[in-house]
C-alpha cells in the first residue's frame, strides 16, 4: 500500500510539490483547504482526494465539474499509478513516490515569489514617494528652488532598501510557500505602514531624535500589535468575504484610508511649520512635529535639578554614614 502521495502543482511560472500522508485531503482556494491553490478559477473546496484500497480517487468537492482527465470532464477519477489531472484549470501530477532529490523549497516557484516581493516593494516605494511628493509640494513656497534636491531621493532610496530587505527575508522565511508568504508579505506592508504612521505622528520627535530608543519602546511593540491585529483581521475578512476580489478591494480601501491618514498628518505638520515661520525660529521644525509640545520652562528644569541635588545629598549622607561606620569598626579592632 502506498503511504505517500505527492502532488506536483503547476501554477503560473513554475511548480511546487505537496506531500500527502493522511486522507481524505481537500483541494481548493480556501486557506482552510489541506492543499491551497490560489487560482481565481478554483473553488474554495474544489476536489477531495481519498484512498480506495490500494488506489486513490479524486472526486468533486462541491466546486462543480472542473476535474478533467485526458481532456474529458469527470466527476471522479481513480488511479493506482502516476497520473495527471486538470482541476479548475490547474495542472496537477499525482505521483506515488517522491521524486528523487525533490525538496519542496527547491521545487517551489521562485520566479513567482520574487515577483511578489517586487510587487510588495513597489507598493511601499509608491507609498513613500507619494508622501515625499506631498512633502516636496508643501515645501515649494518655502524652499523653492530646493537647496538640496537630492535629500528626498537619498531618503527614499534608504527606506526602500530597508523595506526591500525585510520583504526579501520574509520571503526566505516563508520558504516560498504560497500561504505563508502571503502572510509574511502582508506583515511587511503592515509593518511599513505602521512605521510611517508613527513617523508622522506624535512620537515623531522621539523616533527621529532617538531612533534606537524609539525602536525598542515604540515602533517594535506597536508594529507587533498592529501585525497581529492585521493577521486576525485578514482571517476574519477571508471568512466573511471568501471572494478574493472583495477582500482585495477591502484591503486596498484600508490602505487608502491609512495613506490618507498619513498624508493628513503630514499636512497638519507642515501647517505648523508654515505658521511657525512668522514666529521666532523654532528648532526641530521638520519633520519632528511641534518641538514645544510637552516642553518645560527653564524654571521647571531648575526644579528638577534641585531634585537631583537632593538625591545626591542623600547619597552623600549615606556614604558619610558608611565611612563613619567603617572607622568605628576599625576603632573597635
Amino acid at each position: 500500500m502506498q503511504d505517500v502521495l505527492v502532488l506536483r502543482i503547476y501554477e503560473s511560472g513554475g511548480s511546487r510539490l505537496e506531500k500527502l500522508r493522511a486522507f481524505p485531503v481537500t483541494i481548493g482556494r480556501s486557506v482552510f483547504a489541506d492543499v491551497t491553490i490560489a487560482s481565481d478559477g478554483m473553488a474554495l473546496q474544489q476536489a477531495v482526494i481519498d484512498r480506495l484500497g490500494d488506489s486513490f480517487v479524486v472526486r468533486d468537492g462541491g466546486g462543480g465539474t472542473a476535474i478533467h482527465a485526458d481532456g474529458a470532464s469527470v466527476a471522479s477519477h481513480e488511479f493506482r499509478d502516476n497520473c495527471e489531472l486538470m482541476i479548475a484549470g490547474v495542472r496537477i501530477e499525482f505521483l506515488l513516490r517522491e521524486p528523487v532529490g525533490a525538496q519542496p523549497w527547491r521545487q517551489a516557484n521562485r520566479e513567482w515569489a520574487l515577483r511578489r516581493v517586487a510587487h510588495t516593494a513597489l507598493i511601499l516605494v509608491g507609498l513613500y514617494l507619494g508622501i515625499c511628493a506631498v512633502s516636496a509640494f508643501k515645501r515649494f513656497g518655502e524652499f523653492w528652488p530646493p537647496e538640496r534636491p537630492s535629500e528626498i531621493f537619498t531618503e527614499s532610496v534608504a527606506i526602500f532598501a530597508i523595506l526591500a530587505l525585510v520583504s526579501f527575508f520574509a520571503s526566505l522565511l516563508s520558504k516560498l510557500n504560497t500561504r505563508t508568504f502571503s502572510y509574511m508579505r502582508l506583515l511587511c506592508v503592515v509593518t511599513a505602514a505602521a512605521a510611517w504612521f508613527l513617523i508622522f505622528d506624535d512620537i515623531a520627535d522621539t523616533l527621529t531624535y532617538n531612533l534606537w530608543n524609539s525602536i525598542l519602546r515604540a515602533v517594535f511593540p506597536t508594529a507587533l500589535v498592529l501585525c497581529s491585529s492585521l493577521v486576525v483581521l485578514v482571517a476574519i475578512l477571508r471568512a466573511l468575504f471568501p471572494d478574493w476580489a472583495a477582500r482585495r478591494a477591502l484591503l486596498t480601501g484600508l490602505m487608502l484610508v491609512a495613506s490618507g491618514y498619513g498624508l493628513e498628518t503630514l499636512r497638519a505638520h507642515y501647517q505648523f511649520a508654515e505658521s511657525d515661520r512668522r514666529a521666532p525660529p523654532v528648532p526641530f521644525g521638520l519633520p519632528l512635529g511641534d518641538p514645544t509640545k510637552g516642553a518645560q520652562s527653564t524654571t521647571e528644569l531648575l526644579r528638577r535639578m534641585q531634585q537631583s541635588m537632593n538625591r545626591v545629598q542623600a547619597v552623600q549622607k549615606r556614604v558619610r554614614e558608611e565611612i563613619a561606620a567603617d572607622e568605628t569598626l576599625k576603632g573597635g579592632d
Binding site: 524652499f143 535629500e151 537619498t154 531618503e155 534608504a158 527621529t208 531624535y209 532617538n210 531612533l211 511649520a273 511657525d276 515661520r277 514666529a279 521666532p280 525660529p281 523654532v282 528648532p283 526641530f284 521644525g285 521638520l286 519633520p287 519632528l288 518641538p291 514645544t292 510637552g294 516642553a295 518645560q296 520652562s297 527653564t298 524654571t299 521647571e300 528644569l301 531648575l302 528638577r304 535639578m305 534641585q306 537631583s308 541635588m309 538625591r311 545626591v312 545629598q313 547619597v315 552623600q316 556614604v319 558619610r320 565611612i323 572607622e327 576599625k330
Partner: protein, 442 residues
Amino acid sequence: MVRSLLGALTLSFLLAGAGPSSKDALQAGDRSIDDRPDAAKESSGDQAVDRVFELVFQIKTAVSAEASKASYGSGFVVGTDGLLATNFHVVSQALHEPEKYKIFLVDGAQSIEATVVKVNVINDLALIRVARRFPRAVTMAAKMPRPGEKVYALGLPEDLNKSVIEGNFNGVVSEGPYEKVQMSIPLNAGMSGGPTVNQVGEVIGVNVAVLLFAQNLAFAVPRSQLQALLLRQEQSYQKRDGVKPIDGEIERQLNEVQDRLTGALRVASTASLKLPGFTVNAVPPFLKCWRTSDDGVKEKWLETSEECQLGNAAMITEERYGGTFRTRYTVIENKKLNRWQFFNLLESRAVSDSASAYAERFSTPFDCDDADIVNAQGIPLKVQYCLNTFVKMSGLYDVDFVAVTMLPEGRRALVVSGYFSGFSADNAQALVKLYLDGVRAD
C-alpha cells in the same frame, strides 16, 4: 595642562641662631631690590640664595615617621617658632585621609611630625607647624622683580639633592580669583612648596606648577598670597582661636571663590557673543578661549566651536578640584547630511560626558536627567545635565550640562555645554539658567 610638582626630595637642614618670627617674615621685604643696581644684585645674589637654601626642607606624607613616603614636596621656614610654608597639594592627602597619613618635615634622617594650621586652597598654599624652633626665617620681597630679571627656585626635585634652579621672572598672571607668577624656569616634581626668590634671596613666590608640553614654563604662587595667609595666621594666633576644622575652612574658601566666579559670569553675560546663526552670552575676559572650525566626516558638516575655560582650579584632593568652569558653544552647519543623519549627529552631541563617568573618590556618583525645555527667548532646547557633590563637603556641586537646539530648516544647530565645578546649588542653577536663557537665534 598644569602639572603639579608634588614629588620626593631629601634635604639636610642647618640649624643656626634665632631668627625672625613669622611676624618678622610678614613684615620683611621693606627694601625694594628694584632700586638697587644690577651689579649689586649680582654680587650679593649667590650668598643671599645660599642663606635661603638652609631654610628649605622636604615635606613628606607617610603613615609614620619611619615609613617610606607616600608623597613628597618641599617647604620653607616662614616663622622661627616652627612655621613653614608649602603647597596645599603637598599636604592634601594627609588632610583628607588623616586616619591613614601624617605630614612630616624631613631633616636628614629625622622626620618631625607637622600639623597643618592654615590653608588657602584657591592659591594652593598651606602653613604647617612643627615642634621645633628655627634660627631664622625667609624674608619676603617688598616688590616683584621686573620682567626678565633672574629668579631662583629652591626645592628637592625628584627626591634628589636640594637644588637651586635659575630662571627668569615673566610677570604675574591674573585669572579672576586666581593669581600666579609666570616664570621661565625648569621646575621638577618635588619642588612644589619650595620658595622662588629674587637675586637677593627674598621670597617672591612659592613653586607650584609647570605647564605640560610647554618649554620651560612654570608658575609660582605670588608672595602676596603667602603674606595674606601669614597675616591670617598671625591674627588667629593673637586671638588664640586655635586651628579651625580644615574641611570647614576649605568649604568656606570654595564658597567664596565660586561666589566670585558666579558674579563675574553674571556681569559678562550682559554682553553678547555672535556665532553663525546664534547669539549667546559672552564669557568673562579672563577666560582662555579658542575658536575653531572643523569639518565633519567627509565634509558633511562644519563645526564652529568657541571653547572657553578657566586655566586654574582650586585643588581639594589630587582627584578633586573646585572653583573652576568651562563652557563650549558649537554651531554645527549641515552640509550634506539628510535629516535623519543630522538628528542622529545631534543626538550623539546631546549627551553629557559625565553621564558615563565613574564616581571618583571623595565624590558621589553623577545623577543625570534630561528634559525638553523652551528658554526665555522661546528657543526649544534638549537638555541633559549630570551633577554630583563632594562627599566631605556640603552644598558644593559639580554640574555638567549640554543643550542642543536646531533651526527649523534643519541646516544649523547649536550645542551649548558647560561644566561648573564646586558651585553652590543656587549658583549652579542660576548659571545653567543664565546660559540656557541666553541662547538666541538670529
